[in-house]
Subunit: 357 residues, 2 copies
């Protein structure tokens, strides 16, 4: 049964590399394409894809810079890169059926796309309906869940009794990091940007403590909370002042898991941690990682994460921005301003309609 498709569809492309922060209306161009890709023009092994949820990620700011990194920059005029979950509208693939949910890194900021089956991953059924499975695939079982998993377990080598501090704790990655550390028997303090987020961390997610880094006496609170025991594992999502504080309160042989530094992403000249020489005196292992390096182990990790969710040990959190793809740019800016609790997604299209296909 052929779906009825609209005559136009939207993509967002990179217009100008920002110097500092992303400027809505300037950094990206919104394009209306007149013909939606059509089922009849698919080649062998291709599918027609419609995006449902788009993942917004702090790293996106870095992809807009023309510098050497773990991934090549998005080019001017290119559709913005991004992970999304969508539905198969038509298929010439023997592996994918119309109506299937798929996860892809290849559609980018586009409502529709023609994709090769090799660019699609299947979305695990988490047993609570299609919508929940779609969200989980970008959230707790998505790249941020996997980042948390490999970061705290492999790089941080967290173990029972460790004293763990997580920055960006109420975000997609941080919230999962802290909960995994708790599962492994650590004591966990989270750092986040509002009192409400802090309450969510302690009351809902089971963190031992949470500190609001925007509080006036935050540095004092930080020193106090690290007085009974110095930090064994610091999981860094933000950099800046919080990283410096963590360095000053690191235990000998502490592990610093370097996941990201969102406080620096929009700075034209980034600031390094002035206390970095604690790395020498405290014999810190400060180690960076990129989740892609663990690609071969995603399957096993997702199974363990899904298991923890089922057992109620791992709570999920998402902030889903409604309104379609056109909201992506503003929503992305909001990520750097802390608008989200848990994983930030844009709802590109509602699942309900597609279920009818």
């Amino acid at each position: 049964m052929a779906p009825s498709l609209p005559q136009t569809y939207t993509t967002l492309t990179l217009r100008a590399r920002p110097k500092g922060s992303i400027v809505p209306g300037e950094t990206f161009a919104t394009n209306t394409t007149n013909t939606t890709p059509s089922p009849s023009t698919l080649s062998a092994n291709q599918i027609l894809y419609q995006a449902l949820y788009l993942s917004l990620d702090p790293a996106m700011r870095g992809w807009l810079n023309d510098t050497r990194s773990y991934i090549k920059p998005v080019q001017i005029g290119e559709v913005m890169r991004g992970a999304s979950v969508g539905v198969v509208l038509a298929s010439k693939s023997s592996k994918l059926q119309t109506g299937d949910l798929v996860l892809t890194q290849s559609a980018g900021w586009a409502e529709y796309a023609v994709l090769d089956e090799s660019a699609c991953e299947s979305v695990p059924d988490t047993g609570e309906g299609k919508r929940r499975s779609a969200i989980d695939a970008l959230s707790v079982l998505g790249l941020t869940g996997l980042t948390a998993y490999f970061g705290i377990l492999r790089v941080g080598e967290v173990k029972k009794g460790d004293f763990v501090v997580v920055s960006g704790a109420a975000g997609a990655t941080g919230s999962v990091v802290g909960q995994i550390a708790k599962i492994k028997g650590a004591t966990v303090v989270g750092i986040a940007g509002t009192d409400e987020k802090c309450r969510w961390l302690t009351e809902e997610l089971g963190f031992d403590k949470a500190l609001n880094y925007k509080a006036k006496d935050f540095a004092k609170q930080f020193r106090e909370v690290t007085k009974p025991k110095l930090i064994d594992v610091y999981f860094d999502n933000v950099g800046g002042e919080i990283l410096d504080l963590a360095l000053s309160r690191a235990a000998p042989h502490a592990r610093f898991v370097m996941c990201g530094g969102i406080s620096q992403y929009n700075e034209a000249v980034q600031k390094g941690p002035k206390n970095y020489l604690m790395v020498v005196s405290m014999r810190i292992r400060m180690q960076g990682f990129i989740v892609f390096d663990y690609l071969k182990e995603y399957g096993a990790a997702r199974e363990e994460l899904a298991g923890w969710v089922k057992e109620g040990k791992l709570k999920r959190g998402e902030t889903i921005v409604p309104g379609g793809l056109k909201e992506a740019e503003k929503a992305l800016v909001g990520l750097y301003e802390g608008h989200n609790t848990g994983k930030l997604l844009v709802e590109v299209s509602e699942l309900e309609d597609k279920a009818k296909l």
Copy 2:
């Protein structure tokens, strides 16, 4: 046979914690003590010690700060801490004989001291006379030689084919680091502060290349030298701009051996590496260490180092400041100004006289 001892002797004590650089005549006080410790007042297991060579170390600046570090600060009024090699003038120890050379961390900046035998290590005979053995014990077989050894082998895990860059390369630690890396089959570039030091590194020590970081186009030279191959192992003795450059030219999964940051030791507010987020994108393992952690393995390491020296694979370099203990303060300042090539020592007293004892 009782030695004839002078009536007075000199010690240097900490007078005032410096804010920035050490100020000769202000930071330390020179004290003349009227009675030299005497052989007759020794208790059981004690020796009377006369210092011959005093080691000067960049870390000394850090010991003058009242901050948390790997070792407790030197207190105001306390004799300045430091390693030295000296001779046993009299002994009530069954392990040490008059005339023996000993290495100690306990005499500090003092011409004479009464030491417990447990505070003394014996000085290995390197087969080229007593004077050479005394110097070796503070240099290639001393803490800087050991630091180089454990740093590049254990923390850096250097292996054949690695591209290694060493900062502070013409210093005591750096010069040994580069040579060990060569022994292990790496390609080695050293960074040092004069053209003469650079020539010493390539022509005498066998470094593949050496760059003078004071050259106007140093950053350009650095980028060029790291163009054919990005950095696998960076051994950092200095921090600052050179560390930032190294970060910008790190290969994926590079190891950064964090040994010290002499460019920052005299700064009231230290500067962190602004390119530190390369740790994330290049998955760098940036790891600090303190040589003391390998205490139990010093013996085996010294044997291997001494073996390389004998085989001619490991060349030694020292700058020995004459003039006695009173020169220590000025000489220490010179260390931060690059006056030394290889290990910086102060000759406190000449060995010849002692040989008569």
